[in-house]
């Protein structure tokens, strides 16, 4: 059973992700943010329920749709906004942007613009944990589209063969860009299972379902039980990236899935959340808004990286040129 303090944290993180994204979405639509951005909306429960089972020492490897993972793993909104605006004080000094946010102090090994590239990297972090016997685990977030990439299969197999403390957290939102996923529910989990690890398919809109699955997977990993796969089913709320008009989707599909599966609403309606006070939640909401507004102001007024920054950090001991 989760304590109230934990439930508040769960709410707060989900809401923070939601508000963060809605806000940057509005900014993006006004042309104020560069690059591609991908909305995590409707998937918030997955990142938050997973990461609540992790410490800062545990690792995650994220995807192109990474904002939710970052926030759930503890990256600050301010750091992220500075990076989304590609400012010099950004967490990647503006060189990474939305699709490459990383924060080693939080065990966040990076969003990734190459679909399917995260799992081998997460396997490496799990190998570190296994080698150093530090009890840490490593999580790879993987889209349904990404699950087809050969690299993901390779990572699944390596995790089994080396018995790595690792979780494959699939987020099945049925779409890869503009193309509908032809896989039946549970297929991705089954596939991972066939590599020889326990696997389960759950409702990704249900915080508690994800939390329970994550908890036992993380425990298994910490106890030397090896890798686990979790497939979480969710709808995709917005287009693939901001600006995608989704002509390829039926209006009804979008509408009904939006209505039916708001993870925050579902969370609040769950009897297990009964103990949360309206007041407290309102306070949190206000705090969140403030956090984002302050962060955004800071980000907009921060300085651009200088010409010299183009050449730094290519190598440790000398510059690119």
């Amino acid at each position: 059973m989760l304590e109230n303090s934990e439930l508040y944290k769960a709410y707060r993180d989900m809401k923070l992700i939601r508000e963060f994204e809605e806000r940057i979405r509005a900014e993006y639509q006004q042309g104020k943010l560069p690059g591609f951005i991908h909305m995590y909306r409707a998937q918030e429960a997955i990142a938050v329920a997973m990461c609540m089972n992790l410490t800062d020492q545990d690792y995650i490897a994220s995807t192109h749709r990474g904002h939710g993972h970052c926030i759930a793993k503890g990256c600050t909104v301010e750091d992220m906004l500075l990076e989304l605006c590609c400012k010099d004080e950004g967490i990647c000094r503006g060189k990474g942007g939305s699709m490459h946010i990383a924060d080693m102090s939080k065990g966040m090994l990076g969003a990734n613009a190459i679909v399917g590239a995260g799992p081998p990297i997460a396997a490496g972090a799990a190998l570190t944990a296994k080698t150093l016997k530090n009890g840490c685990v490593s999580v790879a977030f993987i889209g349904d589209g990404a699950s087809d990439q050969g690299t993901v299969a390779e990572a699944l197999n390596l995790a089994v063969v080396l018995n790595l403390p690792m979780i494959f957290m699939y987020e099945n939102n049925y779409y890869a860009e503009f193309t509908k996923n032809p896989k039946p529910d549970g297929r991705i989990a089954e596939r991972a299972g066939a590599f020889g690890m326990p696997s389960v398919c759950i409702d990704g809109s249900d915080f508690f379902a994800v939390y329970d699955a994550a908890k036992s997977a993380v425990e298994r990993g910490r106890n030397g039980g090896g890798p686990t796969a979790i497939e979480a089913i969710v709808p995709r709320y917005y287009g693939h990236f901001e600006g995608d008009a989704q002509h390829y989707r039926e209006r009804d599909e979008v509408k009904s899935s939006r209505a039916m599966s708001d993870p925050i609403k579902i969370f609040l309606q769950d009897p297990r959340s009964e103990g949360l006070s309206k007041n407290e939640i309102e306070n949190m909401d206000n705090e969140i808004s403030e956090l984002i507004e302050t962060g955004l102001e800071k980000a907009y007024s921060a300085t651009e990286p200088s010409y010299e920054q183009l050449f730094t950090d290519v190598y440790v001991d000398y510059k690119g040129h």
């Binding site: 990734n112 589209g145 503009f178 183009l310």
Partner: protein, 327 residues
């Protein structure tokens, strides 16, 4: 003749070639998507016209896409595969480098491998370190592949037509920052043979060899310099492999000065390659050091501010060409 964009020229060429030859298929991620035609709309309308049997949406599995295109080419089709961004070469290079490129040689000349791979290259669109690379030098180094990079809509049509009809594997590099550039393009089918450079403008003082988007920059620089009385010859090789050495050498023999502009990272680039060709074969014509402008030896930064520093600029080209003209 109507002015159309590079995007439209490619789209029309795909329509034309698919209508002309039943064995041409299009395969890739989101290529069949209705109303969108891929992320940048290049394949719009193809699936409506030719159906899902010939315009094939695939899972996100580039090795399978490129490999299947290779296998299909060996057995009688003429696949046009899309590698959405050239940056994704990393997940499918083997099928291109060790399979498709080598089939004909390894198999003693008993096969043809008519694959066209369309792919997007280049920075300037704020797409960050993993979606903005040039990477064609890597392909040029691989025997068995032909590499094409059009800088305008006319060339795009003629070269893509040739690519699809060519019996060898061709990688067709589309710079995402110039998709909307307009030019007059005939409606009729035509091909531009590979290995023939285009003289973008004539000049006597300095030769500039430039590739893809950099051709546009070089042209701008040349215009500016011409107003200062400096006469620049701009050459667009159009095909990187095979490379039209002859036209380059001929031009350098006239001007004695060479500047190469390539958006790729500097080392082992096309800039290096062209320089080395001239330093070997037109050495005595040279009146000044061979100069190169490339992006730096750094990844492409996400920051638009840094990205603008990253991409070679028209003023850099002007400065160096001016400097060369003063030798």
């Amino acid at each position: 003749m109507a002015e159309i964009s590079i995007r439209e020229a490619i789209n029309k060429t795909l329509h034309q070639e698919m209508a002309r030859d039943q064995s041409v298929i299009v395969i890739g991620e989101d290529v069949a998507s209705k109303h969108s035609g891929g992320v940048y709309g290049v394949t719009l309308g193809l699936s409506d016209k030719f159906g899902s049997e010939r315009v094939i949406d695939t899972p996100i599995t580039e090795s399978a896409i490129i490999g299947a295109a290779g296998g299909a080419a060996l057995t009688g089709l003429r696949p046009v595969a899309e590698l959405m961004f050239i940056d994704f070469l990393g997940v499918c290079l083997d099928q291109l480098m060790n399979q498709i490129a080598k089939f004909r040689y390894m198999f003693g000349g008993n096969v043809i491998t008519p694959v066209t791979i369309r792919t997007m290259i280049g920075a300037g669109a704020g797409t960050g370190p993993q979606h903005s690379q040039i990477l064609y030098p890597l392909l040029v180094s691989i025997p068995g592949i032909k590499v094409v990079a059009p800088s305008n809509a006319y060339d795009a049509k003629g070269l893509l037509t040739q690519a699809i009809r060519d019996d060898d594997p061709v990688v067709f590099c589309e710079h995402k920052a110039i998709y909307d550039e307009l030019a007059e393009v005939p409606d009729e089918e035509f091909v531009i043979p590979f290995g023939e450079a285009r003289k973008v403008c004539e000049g006597n003082d300095v030769t500039i060899v430039a590739f893809s988007r950099m051709v546009l920059f070089a042209e701008q620089a040349a215009k500016k310099l011409s107003s200062e009385g400096i006469s620049v010859e701009v050459i667009d090789p159009r095909t990187l492999s095979p490379l039209d050495d002859k036209s380059i050498i001929e031009s350098v023999k006239k001007t004695g000065k060479l500047l190469i502009v390539d958006e790729a990272n500097p080392y082992c680039s096309m800039a290096s390659e062209v320089s080395s060709v001239v330093a070997e074969k037109a050495f005595y014509a040279l009146k000044a050091p061979i100069r190169k402008i490339t992006s730096p030896h750094t990844p492409v930064p996400a920051s638009p501010t840094l990205e603008a520093f990253y991409v070679p600029s028209v003023s850099q080209i002007e400065d160096l060409a001016r400097e060369l003209s003063n030798y």
